[in-house]
C-alpha cells in the first residue's frame, strides 16, 4: 500500500534525523569549554591535575572524539543517557520523571488552542465584522506582542494572589488526600493558568490562520458547488469548507512542537511547573552536561514524534498528502 510505504519512509527519515541530532548535540557539548571532570572537581571543592586525569580516564573523556561519540550513541540507543552528578540520578530516570508534566502541559495547551482556534476561525470567517473576528484580531495582537512570562505573572497576580482561584505553583498539592478524582481535579486546577499562558500564544497563531484559510475556502469554487447542490448551510460550512481549512492549521501546530522546550521553559519557570523546561533551566546553570544532552535528545524526539503525528493527521484531512497521484 502506497500510504503505508510512504509512512514507513517517514519513520526511517525520522530515525536518521534523530541520529543526526545526537551527533550534533554531542559535538556541540564536546566543543564547549568545561567537562564532567571540572564539574565533579568543583563539587568536591577543587582537585589537582592527577585526580582530574583519573576522573577523565574513568569516564572515557581521554578517548578520541569519535570513540566517545560512538560509545555515547551506543548507550543512547539503549536509552542510557548517562548519570547526572548534579542530581545524583541516571539522566533517563530524571527525564522520565519530568517528561509527563511537560507533555501534559504542552499537549493540553496545544489541543485546546487547536480546538478553540479552529472554532473561532470558522465563526469569524463567516462574519468578518462580527465580535468573534474582532476578538481574533485582538488576541493575535496580544499573542504576538505579550511576552509569555509577563502574561503568566499577570495571571498569577490576578487569579492566584488577588482572587485566590488557582494555586500559585507546582503541579499537585501533596497534602491532598483522596481518590483518583480528587487528584485529577487538583492537577486540573494547577494546570489552568500555565495552560492559558502557553495556550494563548498558540491560540493567537491558530485562530488567525484558521480565519484566513476559512475565509479563502468559503470563497472557493467547491464551496460554491456545495451550495449549488442545495446542501444545508451546516453541511456547506462544516463538511465541505472546514475539512479543507484544517491542513494549514495542523501543519502550523506541528511546527509548534518545537516549543516543547523553548516555550515551556518560560511558562514552567513562572509557575514552577515540575517539567523538562525547569530541568533544562537548572541543568544549564549547573552545567550538568549529561542532563542537558539528554533533554536535547528527548526534545528532538518529541519534535520528531510530533511531526510524525502531524503527518498522520494531515493524511486524515487531505488525501493528496502522501498517497498516490
Amino acid at each position: 500500500m502506497a500510504t503505508l510505504q510512504s509512512l514507513l519512509m517517514r519513520i526511517v527519515y525520522a530515525v536518521i534525523l534523530l541520529m543526526a541530532v545526537l551527533v550534533l548535540n554531542f559535538s556541540m557539548m564536546h566543543l564547549a569549554p568545561g567537562d564532567v571532570a571540572d564539574t565533579i572537581s568543583q563539587s568536591m571543592g577543587g582537585a589537582d591535575q592527577e585526580i582530574l586525569d583519573q576522573i577523565r580516564a574513568d569516564y572515557g573523556l581521554d578517548q578520541p572524539f569519535l570513540v566517545q561519540l560512538g560509545s555515547y550513541m551506543g548507550k543512547v540507543l539503549r536509552f542510557d543517557l548517562g548519570y547526572s552528578f548534579f542530581y545524583n540520578t541516571p539522566v533517563t530516570q530524571l527525564i522520565l520523571q519530568r517528561l509527563p508534566a511537560t507533555l501534559l502541559l504542552v499537549f493540553t495547551a496545544q489541543i485546546l488552542a487547536l480546538f478553540i482556534g479552529v472554532i473561532l476561525g470558522v465563526i469569524s470567517a463567516r462574519k468578518p465584522n462580527g465580535i468573534a473576528s474582532h476578538f481574533v484580531t485582538i488576541l493575535a495582537l496580544f499573542g504576538y506582542s505579550a511576552p509569555v512570562f509577563w502574561t503568566g505573572i499577570l495571571l498569577l497576580i490576578g487569579f492566584s494572589l488577588n482572587i485566590q482561584l488557582f494555586p500559585v505553583a507546582g503541579m499537585r498539592d501533596v497534602t491532598i488526600e483522596g481518590g483518583f478524582w480528587v487528584h485529577f481535579v487538583d492537577i486540573v486546577r494547577h494546570l489552568v493558568l500555565p495552560v492559558i499562558t502557553l495556550g494563548s500564544i498558540f491560540l493567537a497563531l491558530y485562530s488567525r490562520l484558521a480565519r484566513a484559510t476559512m475565509m479563502e475556502v468559503l470563497g472557493s469554487d467547491y464551496v460554491r458547488t456545495a451550495k449549488a447542490k442545495g446542501l444545508s448551510e451546516r453541511e456547506v460550512v462544516y463538511k465541505h469548507a472546514l475539512k479543507n481549512s484544517l491542513s494549514p492549521v495542523i501543519t502550523l501546530a506541528g511546527l509548534q512542537f518545537s516549543a516543547v522546550i523553548s516555550g515551556a521553559v518560560l511558562v514552567e519557570a513562572v509557575f514552577s511547573w515540575p517539567g523538562l523546561g525547569t530541568l533544562a533551566f537548572q541543568s544549564i546553570i549547573a552545567r550538568d552536561t549529561p542532563t542537558i544532552l539528554g533533554i536535547l535528545f528527548f526534545s528532538a524526539l518529541v519534535v520528531i514524534i510530533g511531526n510524525l503525528l502531524t503527518d498522520i493527521a494531515l493524511r486524515f484531512v487531505d488525501p493528496r498528502v502522501g498517497g498516490k497521484g
Binding site: Y222, T225, A228, L231, P319, G325
Partner: protein, 329 residues
C-alpha cells in the same frame, strides 16, 4: 401557449464595487420552455455567469444582489422564495455545472461521495443506495471503470473527467433545468467535443432543458435551438439560432459570427474574411449608462446611439435586437 418553465423578466443584478454600484445585468428578459436548449453567448465579462448565478441564488455574497425583475420557475417566484425552498430547488430541479472543472470539486472527498450526497440530500436515498446510484451515474457520463473510479479523489482525475463528474452531480436528481456555464472552456479541444456530445445525448435521454453558456459559436449551432447574445450586461439580440446566424440584426452578433468561418460555411456558402471585433467590453462602472454600450466598437454608430439606450426591435415572430439601426444590419 402554456407558461414557460423559466421566465426571466426585466432582471437587474447589481454589484457593489469600490466606486459605487454597477448593474452587471441590466433589464434582461428571456424564456425557457421545458426540454428546450438555449444558449448564452458574448465575450468575457458580459455577465453570462452572473445571470446563471442569479437564477441559482448564488450571487457573490455581500457584493451581488438582484435589484429588480422576476425569475419565475415553474410558476414559483425565485427572487422572493425562502432560502430553504431555494435549497430544495438547487441541485434538484435546477442544477449547474461550472466554468472551472479543476477547482469545482472538493479535493478532500471522493467523487462518489460528492455525487452520492446530492442524492441523499434531495431524494432521501440511503448511504448504500446513493453510492450504487453514483456508480451508475459515473457510468452514464462515460467514465470507464466506474466501479473502481467512484472512490477516486478529484486529484486522481483529468480535467475532462472532473467535468464529467460535475455533470453526473448536476444530473443526479434529473433536474428540469441544467445550467452549463462554459463547461468546456478550460478543457482540451478534443475533450470539448466529447463533453458536448455527452451533454447532447443526456439531454435527449432525460429531456432536461439546458441553458448553455459559451463563447463558442460553433457549440451554439450544435447545441441550442435559441440563443441570447449578451453585451455588457444587456440583451443585444435573441431568437432562434438558425434565424440569427442566417441574418443577424445586431452589429455585435454579426461581428461574433464572422469570427467563426465554419458556421457560416455550413449554413450558407458565402465565405467571409475572419475578423475580430476591434475594441473591448466597457468597464463595469459604465454598464448603467443610458446609451448603446457597443457604440465605441460599432461601425454603424450614430448620434442617436450615444444619446439613448436602444429599444428592442422585433423581427419575424421572435428575433429581438437591441439596436437603433437593426433594420439596416
Amino acid at each position: 401557449m402554456s407558461e414557460p418553465l423559466l421566465k426571466v423578466q426585466n432582471l437587474r443584478i447589481e454589484l457593489s464595487l469600490r466606486d459605487g454600484i454597477a448593474p452587471v445585468i441590466d433589464d434582461l428578459s428571456f424564456e425557457l420552455g421545458a426540454g428546450e436548449s438555449i444558449s448564452f453567448v458574448g465575450e468575457s465579462g458580459c455577465g453570462k455567469s452572473m445571470t446563471a448565478l442569479g437564477i441559482m441564488g448564488l450571487l457573490p455574497e455581500k457584493v451581488g444582489r438582484i435589484a429588480s425583475g422576476t425569475i419565475t420557475f415553474d410558476g414559483e417566484e425565485l427572487t422572493t422564495v425562502t432560502q430553504k425552498r431555494l435549497r430544495a430547488i438547487r441541485g434538484n430541479e435546477i442544477s449547474m455545472i461550472f466554468q472551472e472543472p479543476m477547482t469545482s470539486l472538493n479535493p478532500v472527498y471522493t467523487v462518489g461521495e460528492q455525487i452520492a450526497e446530492v442524492l441523499r440530500a434531495h431524494q432521501g436515498l440511503s448511504k448504500a443506495a446513493a453510492w450504487n446510484n453514483a456508480i451508475e451515474l459515473l457510468d452514464a457520463v462515460r467514465i470507464p471503470n466506474a466501479k473502481r473510479r467512484v472512490s477516486d479523489y478529484p486529484f486522481q482525475m483529468s480535467g475532462g473527467q472532473r467535468q464529467r463528474v460535475m455533470i453526473a452531480i448536476a444530473l443526479a436528481c434529473e433536474p428540469k433545468i441544467l445550467i452549463a456555464d462554459e463547461p468546456t472552456t478550460a478543457l482540451d479541444v478534443t475533450v470539448q467535443a466529447e463533453i458536448f456530445d455527452l451533454l447532447n445525448e443526456l439531454k435527449r435521454q432525460t429531456g432536461t432543458a439546458i441553458i448553455m453558456i459559451t463563447h463558442d459559436m460553433g457549440a451554439v449551432a450544435e447545441m441550442a435551438e435559441r440563443m441570447i447574445v449578451m453585451y455588457a450586461g444587456r440583451n443585444a439580440e435573441q431568437g432562434p439560432v438558425e434565424q440569427i446566424i442566417d441574418h443577424p440584426r445586431h452589429p455585435y452578433t454579426k461581428g461574433l459570427i464572422s469570427c467563426v468561418p465554419h458556421i457560416m460555411a455550413t449554413l450558407n456558402d458565402e465565405r467571409h474574411e475572419l475578423t475580430e471585433i476591434a475594441g473591448i467590453v466597457p468597464p463595469l462602472r459604465e454598464f448603467g449608462k443610458d446609451r448603446c454600450l457597443f457604440a465605441s466598437r460599432c461601425n454603424m454608430v450614430s448620434q442617436q446611439c450615444l444619446d439613448k439606450r436602444p429599444p428592442e426591435a422585433i423581427f419575424g415572430d421572435s428575433q429581438r435586437s437591441a439596436c437603433w439601426h437593426a433594420e439596416a444590419v
